[in-house]
Symmetry: C2
Subunit: 220 residues, 2 copies
C-alpha cells in the first residue's frame, strides 16, 4: 500500500515543480533550493550572500521551517522580499508549498530566488520545488562520513558548501577528506569550503551564484 | 488523500511498537530510542556508553542508517551484539524495521538495547520503535534556536544530551540558553551537557541509564 502512494505523491510533485520551473524561466528568475542538516548554516549563508549581492541583483527568499518565523525575521531585516512557509511538522518543502507562497512575491522584480528548505539531510532531496539547482551545505562538525551515509542529497546537488571551516582546528575533520568522499558520491559536484563566521571562501560562492544567474539570463 | 494514509501508517506503527514494548518488558530489557541531527554524536555517545557500562550491564545496539554499515562497524568493535538496519532512503526507523532485526539478537541476554535512529531532527520523533524512552542529542554547533524550530523531538524526549560542549569557546552558543529554550518546549526534560571528546558530563548520563534500567528491572 505504502509504496504506490509515495510514488503518486512524488509524481504529482514533479508535475507541480515543472510548472513552477516554467514560470520562473519565463520571468528570468534563477531559483536555488538550499538544503542541509539543522544548524549547518543555511540562514547564515543567506545573510552573507545578501550582504554581498544586494546591490548587484534583486534577491528574494522563501524560508521553510517546521515551526517559527525566526529565520524570516533574520532575513527580513535586510529589506529583501521574504516569505515564510511553516510546514507544521512536515520534514521538507514541496512544490505546492512554494506555489502557495508565490502570491506574496512580485516575480517581475526578482533575479534570484533562494528557497531555504527545512533542516534535514534526507527528505528534502526527494522533492523538487521548481529550482534550477540544488545547493547543499555540510558543516565540518558533522563529520567526513556523511556523503556515504546520506548519498541522495549529495547526488542531487550541483554545489556543496563545506561550512564552518573556522572550526577545523578543534574538530576531528578534514576538508579534503569531506571533499573526496563527496566527489565519490557525485563527481560533478562544485565544492566551496567556506566560513560564514570569518567570511573565508564566500566570494567564490557569490561569484558562482552571480555567474550562474547571468548565464541563465543570457540563455533565455 | 495524503492525510488519512499517513494516519493509517502511524496507527499501524503504534500497534507494532506496543507489541515490541510488551516483548521487551517481558524480557526485562530497557529500550532507548536515540535520535539527533546527522553528526551530532549518536555513535560517539554509544562508544562512550559502552566503554563505561560494558562490564556492568549487557548492552546491545540496533544501528539505523539510510545507507552503509559504518556505524555498526564502529560499535561491533566493542564486542557487543549489534544489528544494522539500512532504511534505503527512508528518513527514520519504524517498528517493523526493529521487529525484522530481532531474530539477529538473543533477547534473553540483553539488559539495555539502544536503537540508534537515522540522523534527522524531524521524522524519527513520530515513529515509536518499542522504546521505554526517547533520548535526543543536540550539539552546541547547531544553535540555540533548534528547540523552537524542531519542537516535536524535544517534546517527545525524556533526556536531552547537549553534546560537543568542548567547542563552546569557538561557537556563538550558550549551554544555559539551549537548556532554557529546550525546557520552554518540554519542562520535564532531563538535560545533561556532555562532551564525547573530553568525557565531560558523561558519567551523569551513564548513571542515569544504569539507574533507569535498575528501576525498570525492580518494577517488573
Amino acid at each position: 500500500m505504502k509504496i504506490p502512494v509515495v510514488k503518486n505523491i512524488l509524481e504529482a510533485n514533479e508535475r507541480i515543480s515543472l510548472e513552477l520551473k516554467q514560470l520562473f524561466d519565463q520571468k528570468g528568475i534563477l531559483v536555488i533550493n538550499l538544503m542541509s542538516s539543522p544548524g549547518a548554516g543555511k540562514t547564515s549563508l543567506l545573510e552573507k550572500t545578501i550582504e554581498d549581492l544586494k546591490d548587484k541583483v534583486r534577491l528574494a527568499v522563501i524560508e521553510g521551517d517546521v515551526q517559527t518565523t525566526l529565520d524570516a525575521e533574520r532575513i527580513g531585516k535586510y529589506g529583501i522580499p521574504t516569505v515564510q512557509i511553516n510546514t507544521h511538522g512536515a520534514c521538507h518543502i514541496d512544490g505546492n508549498m512554494v506555489k502557495d507562497a508565490l502570491p506574496e512575491l512580485n516575480l517581475d522584480e526578482i533575479d534570484i530566488l533562494i528557497v531555504e528548505n527545512v533542516g534535514n539531510l534526507v527528505c528534502p532531496a526527494e522533492f523538487k520545488v521548481g529550482e534550477d539547482y540544488k545547493v547543499m551545505i555540510l558543516s565540518v562538525t558533522e563529520g567526513e562520513d556523511k556523503p556515504a551515509k546520506y548519498p541522495l542529497m549529495f547526488q542531487e546537488s550541483t554545489v556543496l558548501l563545506i561550512n564552518k571551516i573556522d572550526l577545523i582546528p578543534y574538530v576531528d575533520c578534514n576538508v579534503d577528506k569531506i571533499k573526496k568522499e563527496a566527489l565519490k558520491i557525485n563527481p560533478k559536484l562544485t565544492v566551496f569550503p567556506i566560513s560564514c563566521k570569518t567570511n573565508e571562501g564566500l566570494s567564490a560562492w557569490t561569484q558562482w551564484l552571480l555567474k550562474t544567474w547571468k548565464d541563465k539570463a543570457d540563455g533565455l
